[in-house]
Symmetry: C2
Subunit: 315 residues, 2 copies
């Protein structure tokens, strides 16, 4: 992102104000060269604008941020706090060796630095560490991991009285998911590709305030704010198709800056309404209540209670 | 395509018949290894199946094949003829130097070899050679070229009494177009992405019988049938975005054979019907008649008559 910044370029906003600061960032798809201070301001304004555009939440609502210890979730938590929102954190200790140990410590340290609560749920106590679940179920780790994250995030938010769960999914994540769903035209997935999922059937509202922020922008925001985050990926994520899609999209973006944002925004503007004004009857009200834990589920027994059975935990 | 064929692999069909022929082609996304003879048979059956699936035309209809002299249009013409259809050819001499000279000669030779008529329209006489149009209009050559091809193909088919125009667009072409339209979610283009466009408002029916055949398959079919075709691209096509999209899709296909076919077929199956059962009122019946030539047009004067004006031809 910064490589296209010519030496000596002045910050677009400083220049407009008659000031003289040098730009340190160039955002080709926004045609903006910015100094550190104005980049931070730009980033937070963009998050605020996204929250309002999609009516994600209001200032008086209690927000629970799903924190992984990575750049996106910490950048999100930082921006929400600076924007005046009441946002606490929620961390699932997945028990994936050093990766979990380090990301947990970074999350705890960050929570302290901004003076907000961090709720921690240890998988070791709830079910079992992810590597053990992986062995017991003989399924990919990412599958179990996604299941437990969705389940506990929702359950804990309700138990602790939060109105909404915010996740750090960025534009690159959303583009990769949208692209993946477009490859096979999975209508039911495409229909749910929206940065706000309203509260219904035992699910709390879920929002993605970074959906128009790129991965690089959130890394830079964390860097400029001296946020320490875990810099390597989860060891289980290697070879995930989302990584392949992200590579494809990096190339498209490099050739035509703005392509990612266009693909995502135009989908929301043009295709999402078409998908949601018809076929309303598909996959709606199929949600039941798990007969073991009482949480919402597509089956009699929910995926987490099934996981528990598989690793030998009696309910 | 052939590189994944292990030495000594037997033809899947021969094997089933108790014969012993060696395979010369491997089609990973169909999991078929085929000898020359069975590949040709497979190709023609697949074209026939596509014609029937989309109700493109019947045996008693007169078909005009848009011939460029390339592998796709000649493979199509050959297959249609072998399948018993009455297909004649239509060639526009674009006047692009050696490229046009060579492709014209190859088209004429091929027409002779199968004993069918080839109608030739020389741009030089109708308007001007494409390179001159390019200079006069200061627009990309591909834009003028597309305009004149669509116009004359339609006009000549009607004048000569053909029921339907068939073009050689293959799966790679269709995937690149669909992908391009998906990048910005152009609903009006996506709505028309179908291998059959019915006759309406002065347009004849247009069909794409190779829409489920890859570029490599049509090259191989031409090769096995000793069809001589022009092997290089039009000199003006360099840098076209469709070429970039084809590269992206080659990589996706290589990683997951069948991705192209899935992307295209699932679109037709799942998304196309959704797009066409609603918003029927968009862009329909906006078609007028050109006040100069009487051909269908979106404006008072059609694009070809405008081109003629620009190069200084008085109507």
């Amino acid at each position: 992102m910064t490589k296209k910044l010519k030496k000596g370029t002045r910050c677009t906003i400083c220049k407009a104000k008659g000031e003289n600061d040098k730009a340190v960032v160039y955002l080709p798809h926004h045609r903006l060269a910015l100094c550190k201070e104005h980049f931070i301001e730009w980033f937070e304004k963009r998050v605020e604008k996204t929250i309002k555009e999609f009516k994600m939440f209001k200032l008086d609502e209690k927000i629970l941020v799903a924190v992984s210890g990575g750049k996106d979730s910490l950048a999100l938590w930082n921006a929400l706090t600076k924007l005046g929102y009441q946002a606490d954190g929620f961390y699932i200790d997945l028990g994936i060796g050093d990766y979990s140990e380090e990301s947990k410590k970074l999350s705890i340290d960050f929570a302290e630095s901004i003076g907000r609560k961090l709720h921690i749920v240890p998988m070791k106590e709830e079910i079992a560490p992810i590597p053990e679940i992986k062995q017991s179920t003989k399924r990919p780790a990412c599958s179990a991991c996604g299941t437990v994250k969705r389940y506990y995030m929702n359950k804990i938010a309700k138990e602790l009285g939060y109105n909404v769960v915010a996740t750090g999914h960025n534009l690159d994540d959303e583009v990769a998911t949208l692209f993946g769903n477009t490859l096979g035209w999975d209508i039911n997935y495409l229909k749910r590709q929206y940065p706000v999922l309203q509260e219904e059937n035992g699910f709390v509202r879920k929002v993605k305030p970074l959906c128009k922020i790129t991965e690089k922008e959130s890394a830079l925001y964390s860097f400029f704010n001296n946020i320490e985050y875990i810099e390597y990926e989860c060891p289980f994520s290697e070879g995930a198709s989302s990584i392949e899609y992200k590579e494809i999209w990096s190339k498209i973006e490099e050739k035509s800056p703005g392509s990612k944002l266009r693909f995502y925004s135009e989908f929301l503007k043009k295709m999402y309404p078409i998908l949601n004004t018809q076929n309303k009857n598909i996959n709606v009200s199929e949600i039941k209540t798990c007969i073991i834990c009482g949480e919402p589920s597509f089956n009699e027994i929910c995926s987490v209670c099934k996981l528990k059975e598989k690793v030998g935990i009696k309910s």
